[in-house]
Amino acid sequence: MFALGLIGLLVRRNILFILMSTEVMLNAAGLAFIVAGARWGAADGQVMFFFILGLAAAEVSVGLALVLRMHHQYRSLDADLLSRMRG
């Protein structure tokens, strides 16, 4: 699942889809934690999932704010337009 998310992040050009892929990756990591917790019967996995969820939410809000900025400037959501930092 993580790999799917990663591939999606690398391939897609639309910023929103990149963020979505990021979410997928985060969820995949959380799932891994849950499974590990269930396997060894510890509650730590659940706790980690809480962290990850919270982190994901914060990250999304910041990301969306940035997307809004980008859209305001470029009137498009093509990630490749953000190459002003090229050397």
Binding site: L6, L9, L10, R13, I18, A79, D80, L82, S83, R84, M85, R86, G87
Partner: protein
Amino acid sequence: MRSLLWLIPAIPFFSALLLAVFGPRFSRRSVALFGVGSIGLSALIALGIAADFIASPPPNHRDTQTLSTWMNVGDLNAPVALLLDPLSLVMIGVVTFVGFLIHLYSVEYMAPEEGYSRFFAYMNLFVGAMLILVLADHLLLLFLGWEGVGLCSFLLIGFWYTDPNNVRAARKAFIVTRIGDTALMIALALLLTHLGSLEITTLLDRAGQVWPIGAPLAIWAAALILGGAVGKSAQLPLQVWLPDAMAGPTPTSALIHAATMVTAGVYLIARTHPLFLLAPPVLTAVAVIGAATLLIASFSALTQTDMKRVLAYSTISQIGYMFLALGVGAWSAAIFHLMTHAFFKALLFLAAGVVIHAYHGEQNLFQMGGLRRTHRFTFWIFLIGGASLAGLPLVTAGFYSKGEILWETWALGGSALWAAGVIGAFLTSLYTFRMIFLAFFGAPRKAPAGGEPGLLIRIPLIVLGILSIIGGFINLPPALGDKLLLTHFLQTVLPHTEASALHAARGMTEIGSEAFVTAASLLGLFLAYLFYLRRPSLAESLAGRPVGRALHRFWSAGWGFDLLYDRLFVRPYLLLAEAFRRDMIDQFYDRWLVRPVFLLARLNRHDLIDSIYTGLSRLAAFFYETLRRTETGRVRWYAAGLAAGTIFFLGWVVLL
């Protein structure tokens, strides 16, 4: 006083240096002052030393003054040492005194010249070198002076170097004398290796002890020294350079080619005469060369049209007399003639200079005439010189010196040599008076311009004239007063066998010999008068006949020696030089050394070593380019990079 000996050659050297460096900046006056003053000073010191020497002679009648060591190499120890004995005293007397007079003359004579200071620098250098030559106590030092005078001769003959003829003459003189110099050098090497020292008295003593009379080594040494003397003194077979040397200024001809340099050979043989006594065949050769040369040159002098060339051949001839004297063992007679010859020949040359100047550069006798009427002083002074040269009886110096030589030749050498000398005396008189009659008598063919010379020219001429008359009186033969002062003076160095001088030898007395000589010279005078004053037609008819014409051409060309040497040496040498035009050795080197190197250089056109470094820099550039590509600014690219790195790292950890 004697300790000042070294100053005698040193002062002219110093003056020469001064004039060479600062000459162009000096005024004419200063140049003249230095040029003449230096020789004058040397002359004064020489006079002082002579007076001191005569009044209180040093032990053994010789004194040496060692200044320093020139070189001390292996077997050769060459000090800079000067020798003072009667012979060197006579020589420095002649050189400095006659030199001084000629320099004085040159002040006025060379005044209009552009290279005034150069002239005096060269002349001073010459006198310095000549004095070194005659004062040297060591043969190597003598050789230094020898080479020095050769150099100055070259420089002065080619004084007006813009004319290639002059330069050619200078080169000819130098090259011909070089042949002699080489012989002398070999002689020095021979003497050094076999006798161990080149210091003159040591050398001669050892030679006498080590070599018996007739030893092959002694013969070789003496013969080689003779070779050197023959070159410098313009005797057979190396006499060809002297007539051409007249291309130089007249004072040069007077000093170098009459009075001093050409007598260096005579001095050398006189100085090393013990060596020659050990080699009788060589001594005979000396006499024969002298006799042959004096005759050949006299015949040539008879046919010359250029006044200076007559005097040049005359010089060759008179030195032949000196060689003749040396060859029969009459050493002091040779030196006596050397002295008187210096006087009258210098006088003749200087007077000839005045004559040539009077005709504005014309040197052809047949263009002159009647100078006697307009230039009385010149005429009389020339006449005195000519009379002395011809050896007119009793009143001229030449008479006494020549007479002594001829008497000694009869007594010690035999009648054949004596006869040659007497014929020579006849011819001398003939060509001398021919010259005088053509130039001074008769109708002027070309109008002489220019007045009589000024004081600075007259004084030396007068002094030399006086000396040409009274110079002979210091050696009056037994038959005519018996006051052989010079011979006695030179006795310690040049021993003289008195017996021959007094006693009749093989059918002739001294008076008899003198009579013959007198008759010869007077006959020459008479015939010259006949042919050139009374009946010129007679001379012309004689010369007009085929035999006469052929002889005239032959003698005029110096008996064909120039032609002979040209065909024998010069042409083959030039041919050889032409053959080597495409220099074979050079070509060999070019093909086998130079070309391969160029080939190698071309191989390395893309410089191997250099390319290592350029390669490095290109590598760096490559990496730079590559890395530059990674900075795209694209987020997804960076993300991809991150992902790739993480995967790689994980793989590393898991698998390794």
